[in-house]
Structure formats: structure tokens, C-alpha cells
Subunit: 172 residues, 2 copies
């Protein structure tokens, strides 16, 4: 079974992302707007129970995430993905690093660039056109996320929540 | 903000439901297949924290749910909804009743008939045609669900998980 770890931003920020995603994101209907903390990895029923305990222990020691969606960026030319850039704070980098090292399944395919995808699977012309417009509009949202989620993927590509972990650590 | 409480069945049963939902269910892309335990209700940020504590306390005392999807039924003529009927065990009825009485927001709009919707918003002709076919195919799945989820709804109608509660009570 395929699992992934994400943080969902506030309803306000999800609603904002969806105004773009419904038009430009091919994965719009598969998952609500999110920040990926660990990319999809394979695990069976038994493995996931231990992994879930590891995540719980990491979350207990992690303070609520202060995030800042500061501008609209693109991964072009690597991929035609447009996203809300989330400032890569020490806190986010540490959480990602800890999830990666303690759940030692699946090497990261990319450098960790925290983001909320708002457009993907565009042609190059679409990408240039849409990115040009969205970059001008921009985004500027600060908020605190106090929980993360372990999800699993169904055969049709959609994601269901397996477990929720409250971030209850102290600020460092 | 609009909240609801659901139990997601196994990936296997969700995948099976989705083979029908992708063709026949207008809500297919808004939420993965689920059993509704408490219908949508309104609550604000502060209220939901207390409600979440109530749900946690109910879940702690509820044993994992043994469910039996025993046949394909329809709510026709009340609505043109076709669903996997889940046998209404004492355990399910008690959990529903306890959620209803302890989270005293929003009266139930229907008698509690546990089910997984697989088709809705059909015309009467479509309903009769599809129900005729599906009833013959039927369903027969038994499984145990060990957690329930509190979800909230985004402006586009899709649902994001707010919290997960493990069912850790003893069997009665």
C-alpha cells in the first residue's frame, strides 16, 4: 500500500489554493491542498503500525508549524508545477529530515522545497501563460498548523487519512 | 465551518465502492468511500475543540467496529441513492446514538441506516436501470474498522480530515 505524510493548511488557505487547482491541477480531485512532508512510499499493514508510532513520537516533540506562503513559484523547467512557496524554515526542514531518517523507506526524489501545488500537468505554453498571471497575483499568508496526517492511496489515485498526529512539542 | 464524522472502510472495500462511484456518484471526487456516523453540522474553531474531546472520549470506550456490507440497497423513493448496506449492529447503533447525544448539535435528518453510498443524483430511469444491475451483483464483505475521523468541508464541497480517533474500547 502507498502512504504519504502531509500537513493540511487552514481551510482559508486550502480554499484559496482550490480556486486555482480546480482549473489548473490534474490532481485536484484526488486530495485536498497540502504540504507534502514525506513523498509516497510503500509499506504493508504491519510496517505501517511501526511507522505510525515513529511519526507519533516525532510529532510529540515538534512544535506547531509556523508557515508563511510567501509567493507563487514554479519548478519549471524540472516540471511544469506551479505552487505556493512555503518559506523553508529550520522547523520545517528539521521535521522533514527527521521523518526521512526515522522512517527509512524511500529516498527523497527531490530536495525538500516546501510548497502547496496549485497547478500541474500543464503544457509548456499553458505553464508560461498561467505562471505569468499567477506570479503577479502572488500570495501572502501566515498561519500555524498544529497537526500532520499519514494518508494512504486508493487504486484510483485518491488519498484517505490513516492517522492524525498533533504537534505538541515546545518551541525551540 | 461544516464538520462530519465518518468511518472509512478498508482500502479493499473503498476500492470496490469506487469502481461504482466513479461512474454513478456525483460526490465521487469530494470524499473517499465512507460510512457517515454523524451528518454534517456547523461548529466554530472553539466549539470543535470541545467536540473533538467528546469524540475522543467516546472512541476510547468503543471497540473496533465489526462491519458487514451485506447487500446493495437503495433509498428510493426517498432519494435516488444506491449504497452498500452495512448491517445495523448494536455496536454501530450505540456509537451513532452516543455521538448524536453527546455532540448535541444538529438533529439527525434521517433514521440511522449505516451505509456506503455508491450512486447518487441519478434520474429515476438511471436509478432503476443501475440499481437493477447492481442488486444482482451484490456485495458481501466483513471487516473490522479500528478508527473514526472528524472531517471538515472546504468551499468546493471536498472534505479534509481534522482528527483521527482510534477505537480502543473493550468488546461488550
Amino acid at each position: 500500500m502507498k502512504f504519504g505524510i502531509v500537513a493540511f493548511p487552514s481551510k482559508k488557505l486550502q480554499d484559496l489554493a482550490n480556486t486555482y487547482r480546480k482549473r489548473y491541477d490534474s490532481h485536484y480531485s484526488k486530495i485536498t491542498p497540502h504540504i507534502t512532508l514525506k513523498e509516497a512510499f510503500e509499506a504493508d499493514e504491519l510496517e505501517i503500525q511501526n511507522i505510525s508510532k515513529e511519526i507519533a513520537s516525532i510529532a510529540e516533540n515538534c512544535a506547531p508549524l509556523k508557515i508563511n506562503a510567501s509567493r507563487i513559484s514554479s519548478f519549471f523547467p524540472t516540471t511544469n508545477v506551479i505552487f505556493f512557496r512555503i518559506e523553508p524554515t529550520e522547523q520545517l526542514k528539521n521535521l522533514h529530515q527527521e521523518l526521512q531518517s526515522r522512517i527509512n523507506i524511500g529516498k527523497p526524489r527531490h530536495v525538500f522545497i516546501p510548497h502547496i501545488t496549485i497547478a500541474q500537468d500543464l503544457t509548456e505554453t499553458e505553464h508560461d501563460d498561467i505562471f505569468g498571471q499567477l506570479r503577479m497575483i502572488g500570495v501572502n499568508e501566515q498561519e500555524t498548523i498544529d497537526r500532520i496526517h499519514l494518508l494512504y492511496q486508493l487504486e484510483d489515485g485518491s488519498w484517505t487519512t490513516y492517522e492524525t498526529y498533533r504537534l505538541t512539542g515546545d518551541e525551540k
